[in-house]
């Protein structure tokens, strides 16, 4: 496992190097960062001067070498908009996103597993059909709509829940958390639910279909013959076998959620990384975008490493280190 991690760490570096190369290459296609920094009446010459100052007119290689030399020293450049080191900005916003994703993930796990299992066990039941129909609708209703409808019902009409932002947070060892105040928790509800709503149908369906496969296996039959409680058969024997694809899909989805919860965060004005990314694109905040993309690469490498590790733990027949039998 140690060797595995060392190997992965090394691979992660390569991944991030490649990402930085590509991210840097596309910068010029994102738009003109100057436009967002100056007023409309500033002349083109003025802008050229600023461009020179920022080193935007340098050739790709010069820019890239400069970037990579700094990056090696841990400096990914300063965001134009935030005027702070990009990495710092991202880490700041990440807290909000992680809490959002964590909340959504809990909802997904808590809802999708029982529903998926139930509908696999009773494939012909009415409730199953309802669940499946709902999940189909869920897939095709865009988040945006879900979010607005939720907002409409729960904050405008009923006035129970706040409609935007994070609310009150408490600082725990430098982590600003909304999980420990009532206000913070209330603010979490709607964004988490609507974020979960996009992923839920996928997971319900996945649990169900994998579960159906597992239920037709011999070991489930034998587990039943052993006289185990049916719940134990379903939720331990069968479910553990459905965990494998679930884990993989889950891993990718969590990574994606951390990285690109753009819509949810935008609708709820959630100060997280997805929103940050969208704004950075809008403002052509290139240092921030580059840092961000590299950082997302890291997220994926990390989540996928964890997934692969867990995979090896759950499935003993798979040898993660890749060595032969």
């Amino acid at each position: 496992m140690f060797t595995f991690l060392v190997k992965r760490l090394f691979q992660a570096l390569i991944v991030m190097f490649v990402i930085s190369l590509v991210a840097f290459a596309i910068q010029d296609n994102l738009g003109d960062p100057l436009r967002e920094m100056v007023g409309q009446s500033v002349s083109e010459e003025e802008r050229q001067v600023l461009r020179d100052e920022l080193g935007l007119n340098d050739p790709y290689l010069t820019k890239y070498t400069r970037f990579i030399t700094n990056a090696v020293q841990g400096d990914l450049g300063d965001s134009y908009f935030f005027k702070r080191p990009a990495a710092e900005v991202i880490l700041d916003k990440l807290q909000a996103t992680l809490e959002l994703v964590f909340g959504a993930a809990i909802i997904i796990v808590v809802v999708s597993i029982p529903l998926g299992v139930y509908s696999a066990i009773h494939p012909k039941n009415i409730l199953t059909k309802v669940i499946m129909a709902f999940s189909s609708i869920g897939i095709s209703v865009p988040v945006f709509l879900t979010a607005i409808i939720l907002m409409y019902i729960f904050s405008i009409e009923l006035g129970w829940l706040p409609s935007y932002g994070r609310g009150e947070t408490v600082n725990i060892l430098g982590w600003h958390s909304g999980f420990f105040t009532k206000d913070g928790l209330l603010h979490l509800v709607l964004p988490c639910v609507s974020l979960a709503s996009i992923m839920l149908p996928l997971f319900i369906r996945l649990v169900r279909s994998e579960m159906l496969e597992a239920l037709s296996s011999e070991y489930v039959k034998f587990a039943t013959a052993k006289g185990l409680a049916m719940n134990k058969v379903y939720y331990q024997h069968a479910l553990k076998n459905t965990m494998l694809p679930l884990l993989t899909v889950g891993g990718v989805q969590i990574g994606t959620m951390v990285a690109y919860t753009i819509l949810t965060e935008t609708v709820f004005q959630w100060p997280g990384t997805g929103f940050l990314f969208l704004e950075a694109i809008n403002r052509v905040d290139t240092p921030l975008i580059t840092a961000y993309v590299i950082f997302v690469g890291l997220i994926f490498v990390v989540t996928n490493t964890i997934v692969d590790l867990l995979y090896g733990v759950i499935n003993p027949t798979v040898n993660i280190t890749g060595k032969g039998a």
Binding site: L30, G31, D32, R35, E36, M37, V38, G39, Q40, S41, V42, S43, E44, E45, E46, V49, L50, E53, L54, D78, Y80, F81, F82, K83, R84, I148, M151, Y152, S155, I156, G159, P162, S163, Y164, G165, R166, T266, V267, F268, Q269, P271, F275, L276, E279, I281, N282, R283, V284
Partner: protein, 493 residues
Amino acid sequence: ADITVAYDSDPVTLDPHEQLSGGVLQMSHMLFDPLVRFTKDFDFEARIAEKWERVNETTFRFTLRKDVKFHSGNALTADDVVWTFERLKTSGDFKGIFAPYSELKKVDDYTVEIISSEPYPLVLQTATYIFPMDSKFYSGEMDGKDKSSIVKHGNSFASTNVSGTGPFVVTSREQGVKVVYERFADYWDTNSPGNVDKLTLVPIKENATRLAALLSGGVDLINPVAPNDHKRVKSTKGIELTTVSGTRLISFHMNQNSNEALRDVRVRQAIVHAINNDGIVKRIMKGFATTAGQQSPEGYVGHVESLVPRYDLKKAKQLMKEAGYEKGFNLSMMAPNNRYVNDAQIAQATASMLSKIGIKVDLKTMPKAQYWPEFDKCSADMMMIGWHSDTEDSANFSEFLTMTRDAETGKGAYNCGYYANPKVDQLVNQANAETDPAKRSEMLKEVEKILYNEAAFVPLHWQDLAWGAKSNLQVDPIVNALNFPYFGDLVVK
């Protein structure tokens, strides 16, 4: 009273000289006070300057108030104003506005004189941009860096620290999340009816979310309110919609360089006649815009009453025929889709209207980040551009949009129509040196008429401004066409 205000964005900096943009000016009016400020109908109201007078063609004198204190506790004197002026001259964004002036001179501790190199008519207009800064506070060094420096990228003292004379002080600021303003205890304007003790500004990007925040009571005031949502705001009990006709002109430029047909004045006229801008205002803008037939909105010196929109499909077809384009032609069009209110829809509607006179439009819309580089290149035959005059003056429109492009003088910098008319250039230049308002007005009106007749560009409308607020906020008195509400004077019942 404590209120929360939701805007679509928050100020990018606390330095009033860093960027000339709506957000920064909104911030400036809360933390600072200008020498004078606009009233609702483009008149001037005394702020830091108590009195003003024109001394001669090139000199203008301001008498300052004596009881003004900065947030730091320092008292304001003429030195601060001079210091501020000097700093403005070094600001990339603002130096253009102050280019006509050679100097700001201290006469005594509470009197200053501003001197232009040529006779200059727009002194008061430009004085609205002079927000005196606390020279003592901003002088010196911090961490080896000059506190007064204006930095566009990267951190500076002034972008995070403030000492102004305004009604509010910043007590906390988390960029992109919120800014908390609290009433400045020693504010000089004791006559101000304003009773807001604490104002929290939160940026909410999404129109629907901002509206929801207002409807659910999470915030007290929002701006902007999308035209689609006006009905909803108006019909909600306890919430009021306040609108003001705006001065931002939305228009299309017809590129004579890239499309030969557009060089023909008849074709340009045909296009102007084919576009039902009334329809656009009514249907797309839901009536929350003023149909335009010229650059200057009402209230501007160059505004000509008679230059009305001229939608007339028959005439348009006729003109096309005359120009020899009976069969029409192809034309490319570009527009942003997140810059102006309903920009992409307006472009689409325009394209469809043009198709009725046989012009086949290839329309491309894109986010502003991508649009501006295209606009800089004038990539399409028709490009949308919105313009707001920083000086609330007619000449400004022409300077940037319709004067002959000239890289040296910087005139016509946004003229993607490549329209060029020496007469217009001459008239605008003259007007900019004419201090007699009446004469000046004549010149600028003349300009508008020429542009109208030659169909130099396609005027669509002036965007209106709208605020949605709880009824206990008396919004109407503090808002204006410039979109920086004077929150210091806001009364909350």
